[in-house]
Subunit: 336 residues, 2 copies
Amino acid sequence: MIQGNKFRQAGPTLNAVAALMGDDLRIVNDIIRRRMQSEVALIPTLAGHLIDSGGKRLRPMLTLACARLVGYEGTLHHSLAAAIEFLHSATLLHDDVVDGSSLRRGRKTANLVWGNRATIFVGDFLLSQSFELMIETQSSRAIELLSRATTKMVRGEIDQLGAARRLASNEADYYGVINAKTADLFAVACRMAAVIAGENERREAALDSYGRNIGIAFQLVDDAIDYTSSDAAMGKAAGDDFREGKVTLPVILSYRDGDPQVRRFWQDVISGRTPADEAALEHALHLLETRGAIAETLARARCHAEAAKKAIQYFPDSDLKTALMEAADFSVSRTC
Amino acid sequence: MIQGNKFRQAGPTLNAVAALMGDDLRIVNDIIRRRMQSEVALIPTLAGHLIDSGGKRLRPMLTLACARLVGYEGTLHHSLAAAIEFLHSATLLHDDVVDGSSLRRGRKTANLVWGNRATIFVGDFLLSQSFELMIETQSSRAIELLSRATTKMVRGEIDQLGAARRLASNEADYYGVINAKTADLFAVACRMAAVIAGENERREAALDSYGRNIGIAFQLVDDAIDYTSSDAAMGKAAGDDFREGKVTLPVILSYRDGDPQVRRFWQDVISGRTPADEAALEHALHLLETRGAIAETLARARCHAEAAKKAIQYFPDSDLKTALMEAADFSVSRTC
C-alpha cells in the first residue's frame, strides 16, 4: 500500500500523448466502433461493454505515437492500432471466463452478464476482426509479426495456467511468461510502426525495446498492485492472484529468500493445500512487506521504464518524444 | 429413429476419398501434429485430446480433394487444409465451454478435464495457428476468403445464441444461421482449392456450391439426429438441442404447422417457462413425428446432397469425382 501511494504522487499521465494523437485516436476509435457493429445485436452490446468502459487504449496509442515518431505518413497504422486493441480486448474477454465462482468481485464482467459462451464467441469475433484488419493492410511483415505475437500471447496465457499452483516457477520462468503474455504485444505494437514506415532494423529494434520494456514494467506493476490496491481503486479486491495461486514476482522473491517456515507457507497456499483466505492473505502481505518484495517489484518496474526511455533517446527531440517518455513513466505510476 | 436407421443402410463412407487422398492427408496430419506442439505441455495434451479423437477430417479432406479435382500441383492446399481443421477444432473447444452444468453427457469434453480457461486459451491457440498457416501461404485471396469465413462463422455462433429460446426465428433465419455457422466454412474449404489453382470464377463457384450444399446437408442431419440418436451412437444424449432451447428446423416445422396447443407447447419449453425434462422431450418427439418434421429435415438434407453432386457434374469423370459424389451422400447418411 505504501509503495502504491508513493508512486501515485509522481503523477505522470497519458494525457500528453493522447493530446498529440487526438485525430489519429479518433480515427482508430471510429474503426473500432465500425468493426464492432453487426446485425447480431449481442456483438456490439457485449463488446461495447468492455471496449467503451474507459480503457486507456494504451497499446493502440503506442502504435500511433511510434508511427508519428518515425515520420510515417500513410494510414496503415490506424488499422494496425485497431487490430491491436481488438486483440487485447479478445484476451480480456476470454480471461474473464472463469471456472466456477467468479473471482473478480465488485466488477460485473461480461461473462457474469451474458454468460460464458456469448463472452467466448464475442472474444472470437474480436480476434477474427483483428486478423481481418491486419490482413487488409497487406503489409506482410506487419501481419507476420502481429500474428506471431498473438500465438505467443496465447501460449503465455496457457503457460501461466500451468505455472499457477506450482512454486517451482523461478524468476526466469516468470519473465518468460510476462514477455509472452504482455510485453511481446507492446513490443510489436511499437515495432510495427517502424515496419510500415520502412525504417531500418536499428530503429525497429529501438521501438521494440521501448514497447517491450513498457510492457514488462506494466505487468510488474500489475502484479505488485494486485497485493496492495483496495477494492475502491481497482474495482476488485486485493489478493486475486493470491487466491488463484498465481506465482508472480513478489511471491517468487519472498519464497526464494524466505526461511523454511516462510517457504512452507507459500507452498501450502499456492498449491491450495491450505485455503487462501483472508487470514492467509494478511500473513502473505506481512511476508511480502518483511522481504520488501512489493518495493523490489516496483523498483524493477522503474528500471524497465527507464530502459524504455533510453531506447528512444536517439530519436530527435520533440513534444511527442517527451510525451512518450512520460508514457513510460506512466506505466509505473499506476495505482490501479 | 426410423429415418436415421433407414439412411444408415445406404452406407456411403468417406473411405474412397480418404484412400485417394492418402499422401495428402498424411502431410496435413503431420502439419497438424507439428503445429500443435509447444514447450507448453498443456497445448498438445488438450488439443490432442480433441484432434486425435477420431475426427473425420472432413473439411480438410474436401480442400485436398477439390485441389486434386482442379489439377492443382502446388503445396498450399496442405497448409490451408490444416488451417481449416484448426479453425474447426477451435470452435469445437469453445463450443464445449458451457454455462453451468455440462450438457454433453457421456462424453468427457476438454473443459471437464482441464477447465474452462485452459480450453478457451487452447482454442485461441488453434485459432491463431490457423491464421499463421493461412498467412504463410501468402495467397491473399485465400487468406481473405478464409478470414472472412471465420468472422462469419463466429457471428453465426453468436446469432444462434440469440436465437435460442426465441421461437420467432423462422426458416429463413435458420438457414442464415447454418450457412454462417457451418456451410460457409465448407464452401470456402472447397472454393479455396480453385483459388490457389488459379481457376476461373465458374469453377470457383461450382466448388463453393458443392461445399456449401454439403455443409447445409451436414447441419440439417445434425439437427435431425439430435432428436433421434441414442447415447450409444452419438456419445451424448438425444435432445441436447431441446434442453438448450435451440430452435432448429424440426422445431420450426412443427411449430409453424401446429395448432394453438402445439404452438403453446413449443413456446413454453423453448422459452424455458416449462422445464425441458424427459416427459417434455417425449412429447416433443411425438409432435415431431406427427408432423413428419424429422423426415422432412432429412429429406431436405438429401436435396442439398443432390445439389452438391450436381454442382460438380461438369468436371471430367474420374475416381476422385465419384468419391466426391459419395462424400456428398455421406453427409446425409450419418446417424451420429
